[in-house]
């Protein structure tokens, strides 16, 4: 039996668009949060979002396409880094882990498809975007720099608070996107055979009234004031 289904043109378009999204999230000056004071890299956020929104297969493909473009010389990694040199550097383990992390996040989200409870979304992001990524990234640093594992692990501690925040933000954003663009949440390609259909939720009706985009924006504005929900 062939395990891989054929990629439809919609799949290709989604993968290409998300690969470009991850690229753009790392371009210098593309995105500054907190009133232009703190430039933070949102590329790991893009990795989590790709898995959570596109599912494991297309999510991993999007990250892989992004890495190929980095490898052939586009300076798309945060800080304008790119080219094969990146893959000879100490952070190669993190880069290799990204597609896997997106796949794990996507598979976990798909396990409960079409529902997306926020706590489950955060957990999926933490496992895929942090546990998997650190599990390959830290040994990568240890091997490339010849330091023991414990020292390499200590160097990763500085990423923890930021990555935790990103896991939370990615889950909130994913929930908002699924509400504002229901088509993506009703995808038939699932791990589970016959998904329970989404029951009519009040937000769905609102999304239809105002068009997908406006609903998403209203929603984001409302929650944007408090930051979290």
């Amino acid at each position: 039996m062939r395990t891989s289904r054929r990629w439809s043109s919609r799949d290709l378009a989604l993968v290409a668009s998300f690969a470009a999204l991850i690229a753009v999230l790392g371009l210098p000056g593309a995105l500054y949060v907190f009133g232009n004071t703190v430039p933070i890299t949102l590329q790991t956020l893009g990795v989590m979002l790709a898995g959570a929104i596109l599912g494991w297969r297309r999510g991993a493909a999007a990250v892989l396409v992004f890495l190929v473009l980095v490898a052939v010389g586009l300076p798309l990694l945060s800080g304008g880094r790119g080219g094969l040199g990146v893959f000879a550097g100490p952070s190669v383990g993190y880069l290799i882990a990204w597609p896997l992390g997106a796949a794990v996040t996507g598979a976990l989200v798909q396990a409960r498809w079409p529902r997306y409870p926020l706590w489950w979304g955060v957990l999926a992001n933490v496992i895929g975007g942090m546990v998997v990524v650190y599990a390959l990234g830290i040994p990568g640093v240890a091997v490339m720099t010849g330091t023991p594992l414990a020292a390499a692990a200590a160097s990763a501690v500085i990423y923890l608070p930021g990555d935790l925040a990103k896991a939370l933000i990615a889950a909130i954003v994913t929930a908002g996107v699924r509400r504002g663009y229901p088509r993506i949440a009703e995808e038939p390609r699932l791990l589970r055979r016959d998904p329970k259909p989404l029951q009519g939720r009040p937000l769905q009706g609102r999304a239809l009234e105002g068009g997908p985009d406006t609903a998403g924006q209203q929603d984001s504005q409302r929650a944007g004031d408090t930051g979290t929900r």
Binding site: A13, S17, V72, G85
Partner: protein, 199 residues
């Protein structure tokens, strides 16, 4: 806009075939990582220095490649000197720096399209497991085209966010951005289907 790290030139290294350069890089970097000795590092340094000189890369370019590594190298060197000896520190740091420099040299002297062609050739054997190299090439081209579109979307959504007075909200930026990205992808998918990509 979006420019590659490729630096145009006419040196022998620029004119060499992309596949040859990639093979040399793979063999050289592996040998260096395998050996981990002072003589090997010395030979590697000579080879890389000669290649940089032949390719006509200025000293500033070399510095730009190594700059992101400077703190890592310093930390590793300090650590190795304290726990092992200076020789190991030298070997580890030099191996890392040389590998990064050599790899950067390949991408700086090879056009992106040539590297993509090599990739497409490398993917040919994967036809058997269901990977279509032509579709991969299409996917990469679509992604390159989508980058400026996404940049435009970010600017638009950023303006909208400012107009609504919630500049600080990451959510007010990302949710509309992703929804527009998905909508762009759906339009693109329909356009591809209309042109027979699914057939």
């Amino acid at each position: 806009m979006l420019t590659s790290v490729y630096r145009p030139g006419t040196s022998p290294l620029h004119r060499a075939r992309a596949g040859t350069k990639l093979l040399a890089l793979a063999v050289g970097a592996s040998a260096l990582a395998w050996q981990r000795s002072v003589p090997a590092v010395a030979v590697g340094a000579l080879v890389v220095a000669a290649a940089v000189a032949v390719a006509g890369m200025p000293a500033r370019w070399v510095w730009e490649q190594l700059r992101p590594l400077r703190w890592v190298l310093l930390l590793v060197a300090g650590f190795q000197v304290l726990t092992q000896d200076w020789r190991l520190a030298l070997v580890v740091c030099a191996t890392l720096a040389l590998a990064v420099l050599a790899a950067a040299l390949v991408t700086a002297t090879t056009r992106m399209q040539e590297l993509l062609d090599v990739l497409q050739r490398l993917l040919q054997p994967l036809r058997r497991v269901g990977v279509d190299p032509d579709r991969v090439a299409l996917l990469l081209a679509l992604t390159l085209r989508a980058v400026p579109v996404l940049q435009g979307l970010i600017a638009e959504v950023g303006d909208a966010r400012r107009a609504r007075g919630c500049e600080r909200s990451l959510r007010a930026l990302l949710v509309p951005l992703l929804i527009r990205t998905l909508r762009h992808a759906d339009n693109l998918g329909e356009a591809l289907a209309a042109r027979g990509v699914d057939d």
